[in-house]
């Protein structure tokens, strides 16, 4: 796996296996936490508990409710009603009649949706695609403002808030910044890591990342820069938003990167850039450990070969050492 996938496996599995298998009399109540503190709570309610929800019918007394909690926003990010801008519209556009937003959301969550299982399309392929969409709720909600901006870029129209720096929620208490212009969007990520080893690895990973961008095969990808100090685009941003310990990564996205079908992938990849780096940092640590373990094994082998024959002979047939045998005999 090189890139993270957009639909959450956990939600997808529950939606596909449990709901459609038509298992009766089983209620589901599961919660899960994803990277960057996105929390899910999915419930399949039966009978009396379900009656509290709107459009409840006795004929089909099953209600599926999905709640999502988003990462804690940093002060500079703009929200409306606790959700990123345009998120409600994005949900409505993506799911249509299948999903109904409940207001107010459940305690401790930012968004609660009721999934109308009866309104799922009967065709299996269509149904699967809408379930996959529901499982990618994270992309739909968190990516909504980014998608709007990039859509403006794709159509080369000027967004209403052009030339103004936009901060978007990325991780708990952290945001990344967009500087939209008519012909390009500059995206800046302040990179922060907790562990000291992670900081070093991430820094060198990012430098290599920029280096890799320069190879001939990747001429058409968004240009990418890394710098240890905040780039000029971030002028006027409060200082506490700029204390990155692994430097700043800047991408410049042009209209050709967000044409047609590429838009969704671009949104998701930009949204999870930090998770992507952190995943690869962990992978490189794992890889190094594998190498280290292998090296130790080969060194031990070398040591074993270097042992003199006399030492080897001291081992008796029954596995006990010669020394211990002498001790017991002396007693």
């Amino acid at each position: 796996m090189i890139l993270l996938q957009s639909p959450s496996r956990f939600l997808l599995q529950i939606l596909q296996d449990r709901v459609l298998s038509g298992e009766k009399g089983m209620d589901i109540d599961c919660h899960a936490v994803e990277f960057d503190d996105v929390r899910y709570h999915i419930q399949l309610l039966l009978g009396a508990e379900a009656a509290f929800y709107p459009n409840f019918s006795m004929r089909n007394p099953k209600v599926m409710v999905l709640s999502v909690a988003l990462p804690l926003p940093s002060p500079e990010a703009i929200l409306c009603d606790g959700l990123p801008l345009d998120a409600i519209e994005a949900i409505k556009a993506a799911y249509g009649p299948v999903v109904q937003i409940l207001d107010p959301p459940k305690d401790g969550f930012d968004l609660t949706m009721k999934i109308n299982l009866t309104k799922l399309p009967p065709d299996e392929e269509q149904r699967n695609s809408i379930l996959t969409q529901i499982a990618s709720v994270r992309e739909v909600v968190l990516g909504a403002p980014l998608k709007v901006l990039l859509k403006h870029l794709a159509s080369k129209t000027v967004a209403p808030n052009v030339d103004k720096l936009v901060a978007l929620v990325h991780r708990p208490n952290e945001s990344f910044f967009l500087a939209p212009q008519a012909d390009k969007v500059t995206i800046v990520y302040p990179m922060r890591f907790q562990d000291s080893i992670d900081i070093v690895l991430a820094t060198s990973f990012l430098q290599e990342f920029v280096e890799a961008r320069r190879t001939a095969a990747l001429n058409n990808v968004p240009s990418c820069m890394w710098s240890p100090v905040p780039p000029l685009e971030l002028k006027g941003v409060p200082a506490e938003a700029l204390n990155a310990n692994s430097g700043f990564v800047t991408f410049v996205v042009y209209p050709r990167h967000v044409e047609g079908k590429k838009l969704d992938r671009t949104v998701w990849n930009l949204l999870t850039f930090h998770a992507y780096v952190s995943y690869h940092v962990k992978c490189s640590e794992g890889f190094m450990h594998t190498r280290m373990r292998r090296r130790v094994e080969s060194l031990i082998q070398a040591l074993d070969r270097a042992k003199s024959d006399a030492e080897k002979l001291k081992k008796l047939v029954n596995g006990g050492s010669f020394k211990r045998l002498v001790c017991t005999l002396c007693k």
């Binding site: 796996m1 899960a32 503190d37």
Partner: protein, 435 residues
């Protein structure tokens, strides 16, 4: 948000299947075969290669390093392409390939649970006969590679026992007898190494642990052997896979093997099942009959001599000798609570057969004592507890344990690890009982 405010991650790595999920849930989010399909092309490259070649080597190596799959994906990749090699990190209940295990965990965490390991406490499980070194290795990988804030390595049997208690409590409203809390014999038969572990007041009696040499994979082998000996036309490349499915779907435990043979002979249309599939290589459809295998498969636990000449002690006898070797004041409580755990205890009526067989041994002994000493000994209560969550009892116990607030105090934390090193994971507190 502090890591203790998030649910802990509970991973139970079994020989056959791994169960992973978040604490507080009532079932694991994912159950995956513990298999890794690795692309080993990067291993073959010698370090002697000239340095001019390094970019090619580097690219191939880096990509191949990330090019692996786990679980069901691994199985389908292995079938469809010859590029991958199959690796099982756990053998006979113990990890024997740490590289593969590390990768397996990596995918579990990043691809399946999709969480950041730095943000969650972890609860992992270890077999009751696991070595301190293997726990040390686990701790090293978890703290060094994944930077987890806290780790607890629990013993599987204790978790199964607490799962049994939690289940009993959930079905009956009144509290169970508090004096018998966390005392019982755990019969853990999974795909790997089966163990019989006596637990008293939450502490494992290490000296009385018994192991049984045959596990779920042996049942599978036996079923496939029986099918082949009778001349059923199994495609050889799939025989184990089909036998496993036959075992999971049709096998059951009988109370008397001779009567069962007669039943099958009298009404073959009722008892003989059929299995139809298509041969993967040639695409020809075939059908096989499933007859005596249905009850003979699980019979290896009660009459092991039908499978192998090396070992002939039946499971009930082994459980009895396990309890007999435990301290004398705990034996009645142990007989009273025999808990099943692991997928291979899921055969229909397995617990009934086990209960009646153990009961017979115990009653015979009581009768002999009464006759010899002319006394009247109070009869011993034998109780085999079965519950519908046996196949993931260990995980469920872990989920219950990790959702208590005390869990975070018992964990080894990253600070402790950095202060003392991996040796903090060597010992498990459940072995530090008085026995």
């Amino acid at each position: 948000m502090d890591a203790t405010a998030r649910p802990a991650i509970v991973i139970d790595n079994g020989t056959g299947y791994s169960k992973l999920g978040f604490s507080g849930n009532s079932e694991p989010s994912f159950t995956l075969p513990t298999v890794v399909a690795v692309n080993e092309s990067f291993l073959d490259q010698k370090e002697l290669l000239s340095s001019a070649n390094w970019i090619a080597q580097y690219n191939a190596g880096v990509m191949a390093d990330l090019d692996y799959f786990i679980g069901d994906e691994a199985l389908s990749r292995l079938r469809s392409s010859g590029l991958y090699t199959s690796r099982s990190p756990i053998r006979h209940g113990q990890v024997d390939d740490w590289d593969t295990m590390e990768r397996f965990w990596q995918q579990c965490i990043f691809n399946y649970l999709r969480c950041n390991p730095e943000e969650h406490y972890f609860l992992l499980t270890d077999s009751p006969v696991g070595t301190p070194e293997s726990r040390e290795c686990t701790g090293e990988i978890m703290f060094e590679t994944f930077n987890v804030p806290g780790l607890y390595i629990s013993v599987q049997s204790v978790l199964s026992l607490s799962a049994g208690y939690a289940y009993l409590k959930s079905i009956s409203d009144e509290d169970s007898d508090p004096s018998s809390d966390m005392t019982g014999v755990v019969v853990d038969i999974g795909d790997g190494a089966p163990h019989i572990v006596p637990v008293v007041n939450g502490y494992v009696i290490g000296s009385s642990i018994k192991s049984f040499p045959f596990s779920g994979s042996n049942v599978t082998q036996f079923v496939s052997q029986l099918l082949q000996e009778r001349g059923e036309l199994l495609p050889p490349e799939d025989s184990l896979d089909i036998s496993r499915k036959v075992k999971e779907m049709y096998c059951y435990t009988c109370s008397d093997i001779v009567k069962e043979f007669k039943k099958h002979d009298k009404k073959p249309d009722k008892y003989v099942k059929h299995w139809s599939a298509i041969k993967p290589k040639t695409g020809v459809p075939y059908t096989i009959d499933i007859g005596y295998e249905r009850f003979l498969g699980p019979e290896i636990f009660f009459n092991p001599e039908i499978y192998s000449a090396d070992f002939s002690t039946p499971l009930p006898e082994l459980i009895d000798s396990c309890v007999q070797s435990a301290p004398i004041d705990t034996r009645r409580a142990l007989y009273k609570n025999i808990v099943l755990s692991g997928g291979s205890t899921m055969f229909k009526d397995f617990h009934k057969r086990l209960q009646s067989d153990i009961k017979k041994i115990v009653d015979d002994r009581v009768a002999a004592t009464n006759a010899r000493h002319r006394v009247e000994v109070r009869p011993i209560e034998v109780n085999v507890v079965a519950h519908p969550i046996q196949s993931y009892a260990v995980w469920f116990g872990g989920s219950v344990a990790a959702s208590t607030p005390e869990f975070y105090e018992y964990c080894h934390t990253k600070e402790e690890y950095e202060e003392h090193g991996a040796s903090i994971c060597r010992t498990s507190p459940v072995f530090k009982g008085m026995y």
